[in-house]
């Protein structure tokens, strides 16, 4: 802990120095080229909201450090992923070949991550993934140039299995969207759940973008589980939760879901009816650490809204990058040193202590059990239990 505090102090000091430099010695600074970070996120299409939140988090952190790292200015170049991996490939090539970026970050879709993987690997451009969750990105398809500072599907859902079996119920209905993330998340949950003696009563995958969940809900009602583990996001989560409550299932069946389902943006659309729903995630609004308090305050002040885990992911992606640039003192010419700096980075995040795992290039972090609650008038999640420090096994 002591080392970390020291690191923070150094960082703050550097930040101050940078601020001073930017105001008084702007001439000398201007001679040094800024560090260019290419960010590819969906700003249009179904994942636009995610892209927006992640960008907010990134900018929030960069503002905090005055857009400075290792004595150099930082410049973000944002490109729209358009929820299409082919576009992600194109945009990454543009950022690398035309804009000559030093690092890449962002990436909402796992398919985009897979799509750009070979190019990034061959070009040896460091990429810090801020969202895409497919396990394979840091397992069989991992690359020394690709890091993930968000979370893998396995990491987020595996620890929830035993916790649900012990604290919620042994009979659980498994529901997920019919795509790669839904399947990986459900498999991870099931793995832990079965180990702890749980019994899945049914497993159901529904197509993305459904506007009616009544058929799904009647199947849940007929299966009479103690709880539902749902992996849904965006409008699917909103519609499912709304109908689940309308049909009155929340009175007899508990919700123990993926963190995406009770994301603060989703709760905003549902209201108090979702109170009490449990979920697993790597960040909780009520986490009592100074970094989280600082993050929430800054976010609320700047955007006048409640942050969610996507904003945290953006915030931390930049924190890792800035941390590594500081370690190499702004000298990116030696790529191996930069990669080494990211591999060994440890940060104090709003989600607690987060550390890069040099073996998988995926972060090791705490995962929490949470519950929807209204806190100081804010509809969000509160901490129920710390499920421990979770490391993705990498295979």
């Amino acid at each position: 802990m002591a080392t970390i505090r020291r690191r923070q102090l150094i960082k703050a000091g550097l930040g101050l120095a940078g601020l001073a430099a930017s105001s008084r010695f702007s001439f000398s600074l201007a001679q040094q080229e800024p560090i260019r970070i290419g960010v590819v996120l969906s700003y249009s299409g179904p994942y636009a909201r995610l892209g927006q939140e992640i960008t907010r988090g990134m900018e929030l952190y960069l503002e905090k450090v005055g857009y400075q790292a290792g004595g150099r200015r930082i410049q973000l170049l944002k490109e729209d992923e358009e929820a299409d991996p082919a576009v992600a490939v194109r945009k990454v090539r543009k950022l690398v070949e035309q804009d000559r970026v030093n690092l890449l970050s962002g990436i909402i879709l796992s398919s985009s991550a897979y799509g750009i993987r070979d190019y990034v690997h061959e070009r040896q451009i460091p990429l810090v993934i801020a969202n895409a969750a497919a396990n394979g990105i840091t397992r069989e398809r991992r690359s020394p140039y690709i890091f993930r500072t968000s979370i893998s599907a396995w990491q987020q859902h595996y620890p929830m299995g035993p916790w649900v079996a012990r604290n919620v119920g042994k009979k659980v209905f498994l529901l997920a969207l019919d795509y790669a993330f839904g399947k990986e998340a459900t498999a991870a949950f099931k793995e832990g759940f079965l180990q702890a003696g749980g019994e899945p009563v049914a497993e159901l995958y529904t197509p993305l973008g459904s506007t009616d969940y009544s058929a799904v809900i009647s199947r849940i009602a007929a299966a009479r589980p103690e709880a539902v583990h749902a992996v849904l996001s965006g409008s699917d989560a909103v519609i499912f939760l709304r109908q689940f409550i309308q049909f009155g299932l929340n009175r007899s069946i508990q919700l123990a879901v993926s963190g995406e389902v009770t994301d603060e943006n989703v709760l905003e659309a549902i209201g108090d009816a979702a109170l009490g729903a449990k979920s697993a995630d790597h960040w909780v609004y009520t986490l009592n650490n100074s970094a989280n308090r600082e993050f929430i305050q800054a976010y609320r002040q700047k955007f006048n809204a409640v942050p969610n885990h996507f904003a945290v992911r953006g915030y931390d992606a930049m924190q890792f990058i800035v941390d590594a640039i500081n370690t190499v003192q702004g000298d990116l010419s030696n790529r191996q040193r930069l990669l080494g700096a990211i591999e060994s980075a440890k940060i104090i995040s709003p989600r607690g202590f987060v550390q890069m795992d040099p073996e998988t290039n995926n972060v090791t972090q705490h995962v929490y059990a949470r519950e929807v609650a209204r806190i100081d008038g804010v509809l969000t999640n509160r901490l129920l239990a710390d499920l421990g420090t979770i490391r993705d096994p990498g295979k």
Binding site: S110, Y114, Y179
Partner: protein, 316 residues
């Protein structure tokens, strides 16, 4: 009298129109000098252009409104990808792609051409989405959402671009010649008045089906090129939005004469790439461009250019 007549028929393009076409070819080849990202975009445009040319032939000349072209594009891409994964040589893989697409066209075409007009649109859309679903669900084969990476395959971008542009120009030239044959003229006649040409003794079903097969094969070839170009295939290439994008390219450039489709693909690819770097509302921009085109240059932008710069009527 007759000799004069056929001479006039042959004199399709005057000099200035030819110049305009050379200009377009120049635009396609210019990025070779720039390399890097512009070259990447240009290859993408040339390959999408090939698919757009096929759609243009189908829609503008055959009168078949297809919203299912993405199925052929994606099938071509997956065929080449899976064939390479299975260890087949590249040449064979590139041959299989159009064949697979044509086979799919044969199976669906037998049903599609029992209907007309808007129903063709619906059926092609439905078949396209079925293929999309299959690619999406059959994770074992296609990798599902995560897509299919063609790692370890490296074709020099300059070579790939030259081949793509070469195939595109050969397709445009060949198909334009085809349109002058009795077969091509019969296709035009079917679009203009199917009852009449049937009453003259032409079994239109087979003409439309053969055209559908031909365009599907070309689209499949374009898809296989895209797979090599991006080294990655995702089910998104099979989604109906990809079909719609091809349709927009064709309508922007002009659905008749085939050059318009090439121009539309080039314009769309570069404008979209350029505008989307400035604003997330790029869709609005492209949409407005399409609306303006439909309102003020109904035949498309290429015929407009031909009239303004080429000083003559667009030769279809």
């Amino acid at each position: 009298m007759m000799a004069e007549l056929s001479r006039e028929a042959r004199a399709g393009s005057n000099g200035r129109q030819g110049l305009l076409r050379w200009g377009l070819v120049g635009l396609l080849l210019l990025p070779l000098a720039l390399g890097g990202y512009p070259l990447y975009l240009a290859t993408e445009a040339a390959l999408l252009g090939l698919a757009a040319v096929a759609l243009s032939l189908l829609l503008g000349h055959g009168g078949v409104p297809s919203l299912g072209q993405a199925a052929f594009l994606g099938l071509g891409a997956y065929t080449v990808g899976l064939a390479l994964k299975a260890g087949l040589p590249l040449g064979l893989a590139l041959l299989l792609a159009p064949l697979a697409a044509a086979l799919l066209a044969l199976l669906t075409g037998l049903l599609v051409f029992r209907t007309h007009g808007i129903f063709i649109l619906m059926l092609t859309l439905a078949f396209g989405q079925m293929v999309y679903s299959a690619a999406h669900k059959w994770t074992g084969l296609t990798g599902g959402d995560d897509g299919l990476s063609l790692s370890g395959l490296s074709i020099h971008p300059v070579l790939l671009h030259l081949v793509a542009v070469g195939v595109l120009l050969a397709a445009v030239g060949g198909l334009r010649a085809l349109l002058q044959t009795p077969y091509g003229k019969t296709l035009e006649a079917i679009r203009q008045n199917e009852e009449k040409i049937r009453s003259l003794g032409v079994p239109t079903f087979y003409y439309k089906l053969s055209l559908y097969l031909l365009t599907a094969a070309l689209t499949g070839l374009a898809g296989s090129g895209l797979a090599l170009h991006r080294s990655f295939i995702s089910p998104h290439d099979l989604f109906w939005l990809t079909s719609a994008t091809l349709m927009v390219m064709v309508l922007l450039g002009g659905s008749r004469g085939l050059w318009g489709a090439v121009f539309g693909a080039l314009l769309y690819t570069f404008v979209q790439a350029w505008v989307s770097s400035f604003t997330d509302l790029w869709g609005l921009f492209v949409g407005s461009l399409l609306v303006l085109t439909v309102l003020f240059a109904r035949e498309g932008l290429w015929p407009l250019l031909e009239r303004r710069l080429g000083g003559g009527r667009g030769n279809a």
